[in-house]
Amino acid sequence: MRERWLITLGYGVFVVFFTFPLWRAAAARSSGSMPRLQSSPAGQCVAPVEQMRVAHMNMLFQWREDAVRHNNLTFVAYNGKVYRKSLDGTCLSCHDKQQFCDRCHAYSGVSGPDCWNCHNDPRAFAPRVMP
């Protein structure tokens, strides 16, 4: 059959496209393992780790609504501790944007959250200590 080379080419295109993640993984040579994040220095977050991993975005969204629209700034955590609903004051006092937020967001390809449209990374603007 004269068209056999064309069909074989089609096979090749199909296999190459389907196995894209395989050879891309081989070419990237990155370990591919998820980022290991430092636990917060205080040793305790506002919710258990499993819950924060799954639903931190919902909590932040809720905090924004409460703070901006309802002026409700008090958050009572699962263990009874009281926190201030503040990204800069509460979250970022333990977690670092670049070392904490950005690494997982870049890893999972989650497009940048809206947080940084209004908030600054406080550590990026920390005053330099002159020697």
Binding site: I7, G10, F18, L22, M34, E50, V54, S108, G109, S111
Partner: protein, 328 residues
């Protein structure tokens, strides 16, 4: 045929059941997840290649393209180059347009018997449902690459951004998700609501739609309502692609439902009508140029017939004819 449908059902439902069971089983059964994923990918790839090979090795002795326009003939008659392709190039162009835009579905029409006449009018619902479904499925599949490839390719990030123009709630709403669900719902309702289509629908027609709907629904539920640990899922997906699977811990039952349903779908594809994704390219009514009259096509397996032409007879009896005075 009945046997094949049952077989297909078994293939499709067995992993789905095991996925549901897995959600309630002890953690040690997590080891099933990579095994099922690899098995499904292998069945999909090898099964589709085997089916392609069957189509490739089937002889096509005569050109049977469907033609929908004026054939190329005399120079002063304008031919319909796309709808009646006479060269390989135009046949390829028609094929490409068919694959990308589903032109043949634009010809869909419905006839109605009135009191005095049968009327026929265009019916573009099927085309719209099909094209919205297929393109959003492609976008969703490409978006899933963010889970399988590390670092995430730039085009996937761009696609994500374009796909979610509205910021709604904590999760950007992907328009392709909405479009896919609407299109699938329409395609299923069309099968159920239209008595003529319902009459020609088989179990396997519904099965393909159901599987797609279930995969889409579990995905949408997981993303927008229930919430999952995406980094753990990505680690699992990347480890699958690197052939060093880690067990998918912390991924949650809905992820398993989604994964196993997707595996069922992938494993079912080579045995089902969804194989049209490969079959359309080898469809002889689509991929051949209509040049039956311009070019002589000889059946390749014609038995060799022993012939004796008049010219040969003349040559053999030249001397006798000459001596008898008979003019050639």
């Amino acid at each position: 045929m009945r046997y094949r449908a049952g077989f297909a059902l078994l293939i499709a439902l067995a992993p789905a059941c095991s996925g549901v069971a897995l959600a309630f089983l002890p953690k040690s059964f997590l080891v099933l997840a990579p095994a099922v994923a690899y098995a499904a990918c292998a069945i999909f790839l090898l099964g589709l290649l085997a089916r392609l090979w069957r189509w490739t090795s089937s002889p096509v002795p005569f050109r049977i393209p469907t033609t929908c326009g004026q054939q190329r003939s005399l120079a002063w008659i304008p031919p319909a180059r796309l709808d009646n392709p006479s060269t390989g190039l135009t046949a390829g162009a028609r094929m490409l347009l068919e694959v990308l835009t589903f032109r043949s579905l634009l010809r869909n029409s419905r006839s109605r018997a009135g009191s005095d006449a049968v009327t026929s009018h265009d019916s573009l619902g099927l085309w719209l449902g099909a094209i919205v479904f297929h393109w959003s499925l492609l976008i969703i599949l490409l978006r899933h690459l963010r889970l399988f490839v590390q670092p995430v390719p730039a085009f996937v990030l761009t696609l994500q951004k374009l796909d979610a123009p509205f910021h709604t709630g904590a999760h950007p709403l992907y328009l392709s998700d909405v479009a896919l669900l609407l299109a699938l719902a329409y395609l299923l309702l069309r099968r159920l609501a239209n008595p003529l289509v319902r009459y020609v629908s088989l179990l396997t027609d519904y099965l393909a739609l159901w599987l797609l709907l279930e995969v889409a629904l579990t995905g949408v539920l997981m993303r927008y309502l229930i919430g999952v640990d995406v980094t753990s899922i990505k680690q699992f997906a990347v480890s699958l692609a690197a052939f060093s699977p880690v067990l998918p811990r912390n991924c949650g039952p809905w992820f398993f439902a989604h994964l196993f349903l997707a595996c069922s779908l992938a494993a079912y594809i080579p045995f089902s009508k969804i194989a049209h994704m490969a079959g359309v390219w080898l469809s002889p009514t689509r991929n051949l140029a209509n040049n039956n009259r311009a070019v002589r096509h000889i059946n390749p397996w014609n038995a060799p017939v022993k012939t004796h032409t008049y010219a040969e007879w003349l040559e053999e009896n030249k001397d006798k004819l000459k001596s008898a005075g008979i003019p050639e």
